[in-house]
């Protein structure tokens, strides 16, 4: 079992991806692999193209050049999307008056991947409770999503992804504006998911300070891939020193 668990498999391969929104390059020739069991941080200043890259991986945007393959299939061919859990950047786009309970939000994830939905019961209810417990939101099942704090909403969205037993969890700026102590708990939780459930974690952030002990690999993005490798090496790299010198909050060279 151990040798299987330790074995690294190529999950996602990003190859020579270029993208523009029609106003000049946002991503230039970005290539790197994401392996199973990785705990990868994609870091870069605001506007460096991190969210864009994530949306390309998820098939929400089509690269101008290059290709992304997921589990050996191109994004167009890939169909098993529930294996890829996506937690979007800050839940601010959510309508706070939307009448939906925490429980229903998690159920959306399970039910939507079925061709014919059925009543949510039995194993589904178990699955929903378990997913909410994993993110420490078990007691909020019946609360309306709009009544929760942004950090709690984020946890619910993680639970929604977890309910589908994903192989990989992609989080866009999950801890922006969250205090240090809560962040620590949050990373502990991600680490548990990574170690115990063997879920690959890919998280995006613009704060170098966040690159903490939990992160194992780093991909540093600023239109091009500036650095890709292990966290330890990154901490010793010139790139990291330069970033720290600029302050923890990175500033894009556009600004």
């Amino acid at each position: 079992m151990d040798s299987v668990a330790a074995e690294q498999k190529l999950l996602i391969e990003i190859q020579n991806v270029c993208y523009d929104y029609g106003y000049g390059d946002v991503l230039k020739d970005v290539s790197f692999p994401i392996n199973s069991h990785d705990f990868l941080a994609i870091i870069g200043p605001n506007g460096s193209g991190k969210t864009t890259l994530l949306k390309i991986i998820l098939g929400l945007l089509k690269p101008r050049l290059g290709e992304v393959t997921i589990m050996g299939k191109t994004v167009e061919e890939f169909a098993d999307w529930k294996k890829i859990g996506y937690v979007p950047q800050k839940a601010t786009h959510i309508d706070s008056l939307f009448p939906v309970s925490v429980k229903e939000v998690v159920a959306m994830g399970i039910q939507s991947s079925r061709r014919f939905p059925r009543r949510t019961r039995g194993e589904d209810i178990c699955c929903i409770s378990r997913a909410l417990q994993q993110v420490g939101m078990g007691e909020y099942k019946n609360r309306r999503i709009g009544n929760l704090s942004a950090g709690q909403q984020q946890r619910v969205f993680i639970a929604r992804a977890l309910a589908n037993h994903p192989k990989i969890l992609m989080l866009d700026e999950p801890t922006t504006g969250v205090d240090a102590k809560t962040q620590e708990h949050f990373y502990d939780m991600l680490q548990r998911l990574n170690r115990e459930k063997e879920i690959t974690i890919v998280l995006i952030t613009h704060e170098v300070g966040i690159i903490n002990k939990h992160v194992e690999q780093v991909a540093c993005l600023n239109q091009t891939l500036v650095y890709h490798g292990s966290h330890d090496e990154f901490c010793r790299s010139d790139e990291f020193k330069r970033m720290l010198a600029d302050g923890h909050h990175l500033v894009s060279h556009h600004h």
Partner: protein, 267 residues
């Protein structure tokens, strides 16, 4: 009380009304939450052109209206996505052009008469058996398709990007929702008429949304309000000789008002 149900025309109105009420409430919730509440209004005006065309050609106005509304709804949706027009703009243009076309056709066919008025103001108590069957079958199909896609519609309404990322074909479902709305508007026209049908789609759903704390509650409450308004409206119309359409819409507005005040006072 049961005395009305002995009348065939009342039974027919009641049956068709209940089915249409359910379809209206279900769609209304999604449309309001998608900020698409005006599409019912726009499609109603386009439906007027369809009815006028039917009267002009002298073929089943209901069927022609259905065809025209579905085609128009499809074009409105495409315009919204492809032409970079904001949703409202396409609806505003179509609604006035539809009405203009309707007026033209009605004048040409010289059918400014009782027939036309029944489409404008609704005449559910005069609904024919063939129309009842047609309405019930279509309303049933609408409800079935909404129920089958319930979670997907909810997901994409709540969080479109994540829904898309989870593999939901959101563009296809947008199309389905628009077409279902067109069908429902045409059916609702039989109940309350072209001029009031958008109220049937929007008001019960808006009322339910006032107090619902989860989606299931919103659906159940809105459907209940929709059905109750139609049933009580029909009874009042029959007993007091009032127009059914006006009574139904005002009753649903009454429900909206009560729930609105209730929500305000709860804080």
């Amino acid at each position: 009380m049961e005395v009305f149900f002995l009348y065939g025309f009342f039974q027919r109105a009641f049956l068709a009304g209940v089915f249409i009420a359910i379809a209206c409430a279900l769609l209304g919730i999604f449309l309001i939450l998608r900020r698409d509440a005006m599409i019912g209004h726009g499609l109603a005006h386009v439906t007027f052109a369809g009815v006028a065309l039917g009267l002009y050609l002298n073929v089943m106005p209901l069927a022609v209206a259905l065809f025209v509304a579905v085609v128009a709804s499809w074009i409105i949706m495409k315009l919204k996505v492809k032409a970079g027009l904001h949703g409202d703009t396409a609806i505003a243009i179509f609604s006035s052009v539809g009405f203009a076309l309707g007026i033209l056709l009605v004048t040409l066919s010289q059918s400014f008469n009782v027939d036309l008025f029944s489409y404008l103001f609704g005449e559910i108590l005069a609904i024919e058996t063939s129309e009842v069957v047609f309405s019930i079958v279509l309303a049933f199909v609408v409800v079935l398709l909404v129920v089958v896609n319930y979670h997907k519609f909810m997901y994409m309404t709540f969080d479109r990007e994540s829904a898309k990322a989870s593999g939901i074909k959101v563009d296809r479902l947008d199309g389905l929702l628009t077409v279902l709305t067109a069908v429902t508007v045409v059916l609702g026209m039989k109940v309350v008429g072209i001029l009031l049908v958008s109220a049937l789609v929007v008001i019960p759903a808006a009322a339910g949304l006032q107090v619902a704390s989860n989606f299931k509650q919103a659906i159940v409450l809105s459907t209940f309000i929709s059905i109750t308004s139609i049933v009580i409206g029909l009874v009042l119309a029959f007993l007091l000789d009032l127009p059914a359409s006006g009574s139904i819409v005002l009753l649903s507005f009454l429900a909206f008002g009560i729930l609105f005040v209730f929500r305000r006072s709860r804080r």
